[in-house]
């Protein structure tokens, strides 16, 4: 009990004058990652700490920790030191940066769009290719419309999600998935699973139908042969045959009858 109070007191003591106790660290590397890099230094820093930078450009991928710990980045002067966001912009807010320039995000778009745009183009092209393939298969009568529609619906869903990324974010949020890309994978897997299940159902039905067909053709073939008199008739007197057999003391061969 005493210990517990003791540690609580200590925690309060530490937390209250956090800014007063704040340390100053220094990033020594201009690399994006690794020891001494800005990112690494932020990770080492405690809440409220200040990170000093020398001259030049310092890349920073994730600004999350910076915000969460309310660290301050202090450069050697505006225009002398610069911070380059490389992981998509907003994390490095001007409020946390003194005496340094925040460069426009390395990947251009400010919204961190370049990679996503590429992905989008790829997704759109891919989906279009799939659509064309499906249409061509339908045109050649290699694919029944029902399944074509199924696949096109799946393709369309992918297309929509790859263009309308906000929607994907919403869905990812709703699913509790942090990374929208994972959400789309999960969705795609689910859709593929359902499609395959659907085909198993279709295959089962087909096998039942072919079974009936095989039974029917076999029956018809038998009836046809019977009608032609090639084989013993269905209700042929097997009793008589056996009686005859008993007389002859052996099996009567079909050839004998013919």
């Amino acid at each position: 009990m005493r210990r517990w109070i003791g540690s609580l007191a200590l925690a309060i003591a530490l937390a209250l004058p956090a800014s007063a106790l704040a340390e100053t660290l220094r990033a020594t590397s201009h690399a994006e990652t690794g020891p001494g890099s800005l990112g690494e230094t932020i990770l080492e820093a405690g809440p409220g700490d200040t990170i000093e930078l020398g001259r030049g450009e310092y890349p920073l991928t994730e600004g999350d920790t910076l915000l969460a710990q309310d660290n301050t980045i202090r450069g050697a002067g505006d225009g002398v030191t610069s911070v380059l966001p490389t992981g998509g912009g907003e994390a490095v807010s001007p409020a946390n940066v003194e005496d340094a320039t925040i460069l426009p995000a390395a990947n251009g778009g400010g919204d961190g769009g370049a990679i996503e745009t590429k992905t989008q183009i790829f997704a759109v092209l891919g989906t279009l290719a799939i659509f064309l393939l499906i249409l061509e298969l339908v045109r050649r009568r290699r694919l029944v419309e029902r399944y074509a529609l199924l696949w096109m619906a799946a393709g369309l869903a992918l297309l929509v999600l790859s263009i309308w990324t906000d929607g994907l974010d919403v869905i990812a949020d709703g699913m509790g998935v942090e990374e929208p890309a994972n959400a789309i994978f999960i969705l795609a897997f689910g859709v593929a699973f359902l499609l395959l299940l659907n085909f198993s159902v279709a295959t089962s039905r087909l096998s039942e139908e072919t079974k009936i067909l095989a039974q029917e053709t076999a029956r018809l073939e038998q009836e046809l042969r019977a009608a032609r008199g090639e084989v013993p008739s269905p209700n042929g007197g097997s009793a008589a045959r056996v009686a005859e057999e008993a007389q002859h003391g052996g099996p009567v061969r079909a050839e004998d009858d013919a």
Binding site: Q215, N235, R241, V242, E245, P251
Partner: protein, 271 residues
């Protein structure tokens, strides 16, 4: 109903898949031991002389264009029995495992018990099976036996036995619906679900002649799982109305008129 079984039309259904050298003997034995039975051999896509051999012994032969498996073969036989108006049908394996000398006894059980039984089957495990049943098979049988006995609330000692004789109601049921592979156990549950009564007769069987055993080792796990799943699902399946309630005497298979219509229709659709 009459116990005069001589007036009844009786059919022995012999499913056979590559049983040349054996099936002829089975047909001959059935005709000798039970002369009032017609014999129908279902040649389930054999690549040997099974059908020729069976025909030579005087059996009617239905030749499947390819192998449908035991379920499809047996059902083919029941469909034939239904169409040809048979009153009694019995399954006799084409591999010589079932002894035709029990046919009269099965027939008696089917009809002399005050028509209590719609299906009578020969059980190996009511007494001494007469040959050494492999351990794995015995164990599997025990599991099915326990489960099925609980489900049907009657003692079923040999649920995997395919040596079964049924009356018109059973023929109608099986012609309409029969399980695919490893059908025996599931078929029993179907009978029970349709309130058809099952009766056991103690028989001895031959060890399988030669060739195929429908269950070899790697498949037995699948067999167990498949049948148990089928039993479980069967509990939740709504069976169609019991056979006697449908009043359907004619086979469900399309009568010729309908087929002709279908053809005409197809022509029109095409033209």
């Amino acid at each position: 109903m009459s116990t005069n079984t001589e007036e009844l039309k009786k059919l022995a259904i012999v499913p056979a898949y590559n049983e040349a050298g054996m099936v002829g003997r089975v047909v001959r034995d059935v005709l000798r031991e039970a002369p009032d039975f017609d014999v129908l051999v279902i040649d389930d896509g054999s690549t040997d002389s099974t059908s020729a051999e069976a025909e030579a012994e005087g059996a009617v032969v239905i030749r499947h264009p390819y192998n449908l498996g035991i379920g499809g073969a047996v059902q083919s036989g029941y469909k034939y029995a239904l169409r040809q108006g048979y009153d009694v049908a019995v399954q006799v394996d084409g591999d010589g495992q079932h002894k035709p000398e029990y046919l009269p006894e099965l027939l008696r059980a089917l009809h002399t018990e005050g028509d209590e039984a719609d299906m009578v089957y020969g059980s190996r495990f009511r007494g001494d099976p007469g040959y050494k049943v492999p351990l794995g098979r015995r164990l599997g049988n025990l599991v099915f036996s326990v489960v099925l006995s609980a489900l049907t609330r009657q003692r079923i000692t040999d649920p995997t036995s395919g040596f079964r004789m049924t009356n018109r109601r059973g023929i109608e049921l099986f012609a309409r619906d029969y399980p695919h592979d490893y059908p025996e156990v599931e078929a029993l549950l179907m009978l029970h679900a349709h309130h058809l009564r099952i009766h056991e007769v103690q028989v001895r069987m031959n060890a399988r002649g030669f060739g195929r055993s429908s269950i070899d080792y790697p498949r037995s796990a699948y067999y167990m799982a498949k049948v148990l799943l089928a039993l479980f699902v069967g509990l939740f399946r709504r069976r169609p109305t019991p056979v006697e309630a449908t009043g359907e005497d004619e086979p469900r298979v399309e009568p010729p008129a309908t087929s002709a219509q279908a053809l005409a229709h197809g022509d029109r659709a095409r033209g």
